[in-house]
């Protein structure tokens, strides 16, 4: 094929030199990018460590993501397995450990494109749910990769509502075994990662039956593939569930069990045990289970939402200072698209949100650490709050983040649609986070249940966790702002958010009570209020995010340069929220129509201010070009050159396509004959 002649462009490749349009953006930064990076990392020492890990990974060709956008499902799966296998070696070589500080940087450098992530969950679930004896037996095998594990909970017909799972495990007292079965098609395990092709073992959640009595869901270790030749074990039907929007590298699988027998010892028995005679024994509190979910949801916010969102902002903002389109002033050159107010209004609020969620993720981590210390002292008091917070924030942040990444994608015009921009993959990945680890609407309703309970308690003077005492606080009835500058005061807008969240929660609680008092059954009343309840839960999380952002800025007084720009971002995040949800702030007259005009004015003014620092603000996220893997978002801003060079690497240009053109066109010529004969 004679078309990869790139002529003068590739000879004089400009890759390596920085596009002047992006270089000029960096000259005018109002703060030190390096200092902001260090602060975000939690200190210069952390930054150094992160960079060292990322560099070690990126230098290793096995981890290259260069072909990522050109791979078939089979190829990406194979690459993920290869990387996971190689990573074990690498970690050993470098002296990195699974629970060391390096792991999250490794994950960041690899963008999570690894196989065997569920193997880690397999290990964790045995550590948490298994007896000491079980841990001693299985964990060494797993950590040595003598077996590969997965975690099979979700079924074809059942997701978030665990009690509805249908898989059964019947205890057979004569052989001292459990007999596992998939009683019908909707009970087939569906979606578990690593299960379609890789796993040899999996933890299966099934309804336990002893002597005909159901004891509810329990976890069982089930071998599904041979350790010798990897073929399926008797009674097992398993495979890959087919193409998805993303995660092509993961073999999400299905699993059908037909009279599969496992020994009695394979039921994970830290909390419950079936004794040889069939006696069912329960021990300890299962509350700790909630804690695992909480852990996963909190780590998901930073790894699967904040980082992709930061990447999307980096790509879209860098591209927007390189892309020129139309003229803003006659006789001048075409303007950078970031100079358009509408483009600023698309991207800068998303940038502010990326920072806001970065800080809320720290806040949640801290809350979690506190909770963990309490739990170790056998105090479970904080669990409901932790559970409610991790649920609500998971829902709010994933939903917000998904729409933010979508906005970034669409703000890059046609080129955003190319996989080479990196944005479609970020979008399809972050989108999945709205569903896994609990469907968002259901999670918001769990948070709402907690908030309503706290509201009831607070209004009758009982004590509630500090994060929700605001529900009983007395706030002024009107927002005191007098001019647009007043809306740049964190006290003013934080109070507006607090008022709004409290109002939505209290009015929903009142509605619920009214319905119940008018004779509507409790569950019906709940269902009739769910739209409002979900809105109230989101409002609560939004308020806490704003408040936490403002408090984070306050603590920055020793770094005035950074504090100033963070304050602008905090203002922007808060005012964007009021501007876009004007109705709920106007509703009871807390914010007046005239004040809303002030909000709008201040909000739009801020766009122009932050515009000047937009590129330094994304530079501070400190993603390497390899991590971004985007033709539009590289540090040097050589967008078009890179797009052109990458496109030529596409297999569609390398190999001769299998199409026989003469056949296609002769078919058309035949059509002609048919038509005119």
């Amino acid at each position: 094929m004679a078309l990869t002649e790139t002529g003068k462009y590739s000879q004089g490749s400009v890759l390596g030199s920085v596009n002047p349009d992006i270089a000029s953006e960096r000259q005018t930064a109002s703060f030190s990018v390096e200092k902001l990076t260090a602060w975000l990392d939690g200190g210069a020492e952390r930054t150094r460590l992160r960079r060292a890990v990322v560099e070690a990974i990126e230098r290793d060709p096995v981890f290259s993501r260069e072909n990522q956008y050109f791979q078939s499902q089979n190829e990406s799966y194979e690459a993920a397995v290869r990387k996971a296998v190689h990573l074990q070696k690498k970690m050993h070589e470098m002296g990195w450990t699974d629970d060391g500080p390096e792991f999250k940087y490794i994950y960041r450098a690899l963008s999570g494109d690894l196989a065997f992530l569920l193997h880690r969950i397999f290990i964790r679930s045995i550590s948490v749910l298994g007896s000491d004896k079980q841990i001693a037996k299985w964990i060494p095998l797993a950590t040595q990769y003598q077996l590969i594990g997965s975690y099979a909970q979700t079924e074809l017909g059942h997701g978030t509502y665990l009690q509805g799972l249908e898989t059964t495990a019947v205890f057979d007292i004569t052989t001292q075994e459990f007999v596992l079965n998939t009683p019908n098609i909707s009970a087939m395990k569906w979606w578990p990662g690593d299960m379609g092709r890789s796993a040899t073992h999996t933890v299966v959640f099934a309804q336990l039956y002893i002597n005909g009595k159901c004891y509810g869901l329990h976890p069982f270790i089930v071998q599904i593939r041979s350790l010798q030749d990897h073929s399926l074990c008797p009674g097992i039907t398993a495979g890959d569930i087919g193409p998805k929007m993303n995660f092509e590298h993961i073999d999400n699988g299905y699993l059908m069990l037909q009279n599969v027998r496992v020994p009695r010892e394979n039921m994970l028995s830290k909390f419950c045990e079936v004794q040889p005679d069939g006696t069912y024994v329960r021990r300890g509190s299962q509350k700790i289970n909630y804690f695992t979910m909480t852990t996963v949801r909190i780590s998901l916010i930073s790894d699967e939402v904040v980082i992709p969102l930061m990447k999307a902002c980096t790509i879209a903002i860098r591209y927007s200072v390189v892309r020129r389109q139309s003229k803003l002033k006659p006789r001048e050159q075409e303007a950078k698209i970031l100079d358009y107010q509408t483009q600023q209004e698309k991207l800068l609020p998303q940038l502010a949100a990326a920072y806001a969620f970065y800080f809320i993720s720290d806040y949640l981590q801290e809350l979690f650490n506190r909770g963990y210390r309490e739990i170790q002292r056998k105090n479970f008091d904080m669990l409901p709050e932790l559970h409610a917070f991790s649920s609500g924030f998971k829902a709010m942040v994933t939903q917000y983040g998904t729409s933010a990444v979508k906005i970034c994608l669409q703000a890059c015009g046609g080129h955003g649609y190319s996989l080479l921009s990196g944005l479609p993959s970020l979008y399809t990945k972050i989108f999945a986070s709205c569903i896994y680890e609990g469907e968002n609407t259901i999670l918001l309703l769990q948070t709402a249940r907690f908030l309503i309970k706290c509201f009831m308690a607070a209004s009758t003077g009982q004590s509630v966790p500090p994060s929700v005492t605001y529900l009983a606080a007395v706030t002024p009835e009107k927002c005191p702002a007098k001019n647009k500058l007043d809306f740049l005061s964190p006290d003013i807008y934080t109070e507006a958010y607090q008022h709004m969240a409290a109002r939505l929660i209290s009015s929903t609680a009142a509605k619920l009570q009214d319905l119940i008092q008018s004779g509507v059954k409790k569950h019906d009343a709940w269902n009739q209020c769910t739209v409002q309840l979900a809105q109230a839960a989101k409002a609560h999380c939004h308020y806490i995010t704003v408040k936490n952002f403002a408090e984070t800025v306050e603590k920055l007084e020793t770094q005035p340069g950074i504090q100033k720009i963070m304050k602008h971002l905090c203002d922007l995040f808060a005012l964007h929220g009021i501007f876009s949800n004007a109705g709920v702030f106007l509703h009871d007259g807390y914010v007046s129509g005239a004040q809303m005009d002030m909000v709008t004015a201040s909000y739009l003014d801020l766009l122009a201010v932050i515009r000047k620092d937009a590129v330094p603000l994304v530079d501070a996220f400190d993603f390497t070009d390899k991590t971004l893997n985007s033709a539009l978002g590289s540090y040097d801003g050589q967008v078009y050159q890179r797009l052109y060079e990458w496109a030529q690497k596409s297999p569609t240009n390398k190999q001769v396509w299998t199409l026989d053109y003469s056949q296609a066109t002769s078919a058309l010529t035949r059509a002609e004959v048919v038509c005119f004969s």
Binding site: Y9, E78, R197, G242, K329, C529, Y640, W657
Partner: protein, 663 residues
């Protein structure tokens, strides 16, 4: 296989006959009959059967698409189908969610040659085009230049010595980028380039450029052409790049119906170029219709699946309910269903209006064109943005399974989403509409009357007596009356247009340049356009109700229309409150009424998506199957996944086994 019991119950409980509504959507019972007849030609034709495209590599998908495209051309001619609507019906059942690489040959390449060439050029090129002796595409967009056409950099320099144009791509940014069918399929392209003759630039003109050798299909010397690589969707389409280095074409290859270059290089100016407006209006009206259909398909899938899927517990001790019984699920889906219907009627309205006035256009009467042009720009943006978000919401409403390619929603989404960008980037479109609105507002302010959809602006001058802005005006809104809600939307649009126009004036008063002032007001201007479009949609939906004779159908559409209008208010309460159009108490009522309507629409939800009458072949979704047998078919589908071709994947031997033996 039997129909799923849940769906059977849903269908039995409907209060109206879905066929009657289908007829309305199709434009008459006879058209429905003919559409089904045409669809059957494809469905029953073994030539059109193929493996699910989701299991194929990109190269294989492209090949399938080319095969199908060729087949479609043959069969359409074989059956003598020539009416544009009938061709459309035929193609959409063939293609499902996917684009066709030949698409631009028939739409843009052929259309442009038909409308912009001289008789001599027609005689030379059209037979080649009709006979598909040559395959062409339309190369306008460049790597660095999109919506702003004047910025294109490709040059065509006239050389009187040889009577040729010399085409060049002078920079990387000038490489033609994105045109469909350009990478691999086409051997000709209409190239838009800046014309230079006698040392002067004469602006953009169109040229016919051969790019590949007929017969061998190799690129011609001086031409660099290829595929732009993988995309979010459009795997079937070889969107391409094209770079030209001193590539010469004869003088006659410039499309010369309007502007001309004479042999000596003299440039003859075109008479009028407003006619191109007409084409843009037409294509954008198609996008409005496409927004309606894509959203309808996503709704069909999500609503049927929600009737089949059971989850959790609504009442203690009872079996798991259908997820469609949850208020939150209804709140996600029913407003989208109402939106799909609204957009359908809007699409039909624009199409009709275009056909009504296209006669005038050809006679040179362009008086109605500016308003229609402004309106379609905004509606294109409004409907494609809304549908895009709506399809996403439908996918989200299907939980994890919506993420699987078997749901069909990912394909609908990735195929639809570029329409927010192509044929005019949406924000730019909104600003075009805003320009028209501000112009109309200025006319009204200076005492003139305006007509058409913006005539509500005339009322503003009457209220000028009041010192307050429009906000002070009270509209006695009756929230159960669509006609009254149209008034509320009208008041909101008037208020936002006025606010934007005043802010623009204020910026100008700060002695800013016109462009600066416009830029600093553009967020307000976009909001004004959105409010205007929203008003037009509510108005057209409401107007449609009066045309429906069957009482049961009218009743259910009235509920949908009310839901559309009230939901729109509840999502934009700020505008209505701030302008004083509605009170706090009314907003509370609106929110309440929205939820009541969800419950009222619930029994008809499945029948309402059945009325769209998408054949399973067209829907391409396991979750949205008409018979509702979802789970069995998901399993069957998954078994065909490429990873399942062998029971033990090669990775086991290549990586896993060696690792286990080493560790």
């Amino acid at each position: 296989m039997m129909m799923n019991a849940d769906l059977r119950r849903e269908r039995a409980a409907a209060t109206f006959q879905p066929e009657l509504l289908t007829h309305i959507l199709d434009g008459g019972a006879e058209r429905t009959r003919r559409r089904k007849e045409i669809e059957a030609l494809v469905i029953n034709d073994p030539d059109f059967q193929h493996e699910d495209l989701n299991f194929l590599s990109r190269s294989q998908r492209y090949e399938q698409a080319i095969r199908k495209s060729s087949l479609m051309v043959m069969k359409l001619r074989e059956y003598g189908i020539a009416d544009p609507d009938e061709i459309y019906w035929f193609k959409r059942i063939c293609l499902g969610s996917f684009p066709e690489p030949f698409g631009l040959h028939f739409s843009m390449f052929q259309k442009t040659l038909e409308t912009q060439t001289t008789d001599a050029q027609k005689e030379k090129w059209l037979p080649l085009v009709h006979g598909v002796k040559i395959i062409g595409t339309y190369a306008q967009t460049e790597m660095g230049h999109g919506t702003h056409l004047r910025g294109l950099e490709t040059t065509a320099t006239y050389d009187p010595a040889t009577q040729e144009f010399i085409l060049n791509s002078p920079t990387v940014t000038s490489i033609k980028w994105w045109p469909g069918g350009l990478g691999k399929t086409s051997n000709h392209a209409i190239v838009l380039a800046q014309l230079y003759t006698q040392g002067q630039c004469k602006g953009l003109h169109a040229f016919i450029v051969p790019i590949r050798q007929l017969g061998t299909h190799e690129p011609l010397p001086g031409i660099t052409v290829g595929d732009i690589g993988p995309k979010f969707g459009y795997d079937e389409m070889d969107n391409g790049y094209l770079k030209m280095d001193n590539f010469r074409i004869p003088r006659e290859n410039m499309l010369m119906k309007y502007a001309q270059v004479e042999p000596d290089g003299t440039y003859v100016k075109p008479l009028s170029d407003k006619l191109t407006y007409g084409t843009m209006v037409f294509i954008r009206s198609l996008i409005v219709g496409d927004s309606a259909r894509s959203l309808s398909r996503a709704c069909t899938i999500a609503i049927r699946y929600s009737a089949v899927r059971h989850q959790s517990e609504l009442k203690p001790g009872e079996p798991e309910p259908q997820i469609l019984d949850y208020q939150t699920q209804q709140y996600k889906l029913f407003p989208l269903l109402a939106t799909a219907y609204a957009f359908h009627f809007v699409g039909a309205y624009i199409k009709d209006t275009y056909h009504r006035i296209s006669g005038d256009i050809h006679k040179g009467d362009l008086s109605e064109l500016p308003e229609l042009h402004a309106l379609t720009a905004g509606l294109k943006a409004f409907t494609s943005w809304t549908a895009n978000a709506g399809i996403e919401e439908c996918r989200m409403a299907c939980g994890g399974h919506g993420y699987s390619r078997c749901s069909g929603i990912p394909d609908i989404y990735v195929t639809f989403t570029p329409s927010c960008t192509y044929e005019g980037e949406n924000t730019v479109m909104m600003l075009q509409t805003a320009r028209f609105l501000v112009k109309s507002y200025t006319q009204v302010s200076s005492g003139q009357q305006v007509t058409g959809m913006v005539s509500y602006l005339n009322d503003l001058s009457r209220q000028r007596i009041q010192p307050q802005h429009v906000a002070a005006r009270s509209v006695a809104v009756r929230i159960n009356d669509p006609v009254s809600l149209v008034e509320a939307y009208k008041a909101r649009a008037a208020r936002l247009v006025e606010a934007a126009a005043k802010n623009l004036q204020a910026e100008l008063n700060h002695r800013k340049s016109k462009e600066d002032a416009w830029n600093r007001t553009s967020v307000d201007l976009v909001r004004a356009s959105e409010a205007h479009c929203h008003y037009v949609i509510v108005k057209l939906f409401t107007a449609k109700l009066a045309e429906i004779s069957n009482a049961a159908v009218r009743a259910v559409l009235t509920e949908l229309c009310l839901l559309y209008a009230l939901y729109g208010i509840s999502k934009n309460t700020g505008d209505f409150l701030q302008a004083g159009i509605l009170t706090d108490a009314q907003i509370t009522q609106v929110n309440q009424r929205v939820k009541e309507l969800l419950a009222i629409i619930r029994p008809n939800a499945v029948a309402l998506v059945d009325s769209f009458d998408f054949h399973d072949v067209h829907l391409g979704s396991v979750l949205g199957r008409y018979d509702g047998n979802v789970y069995e078919n998901m399993f069957e589908w998954a078994k065909k996944s490429p990873l399942n071709k062998t029971e033990v994947h090669e990775s086991f031997h290549k990586h896993l086994k060696p690792m286990q033996s080493k560790l």
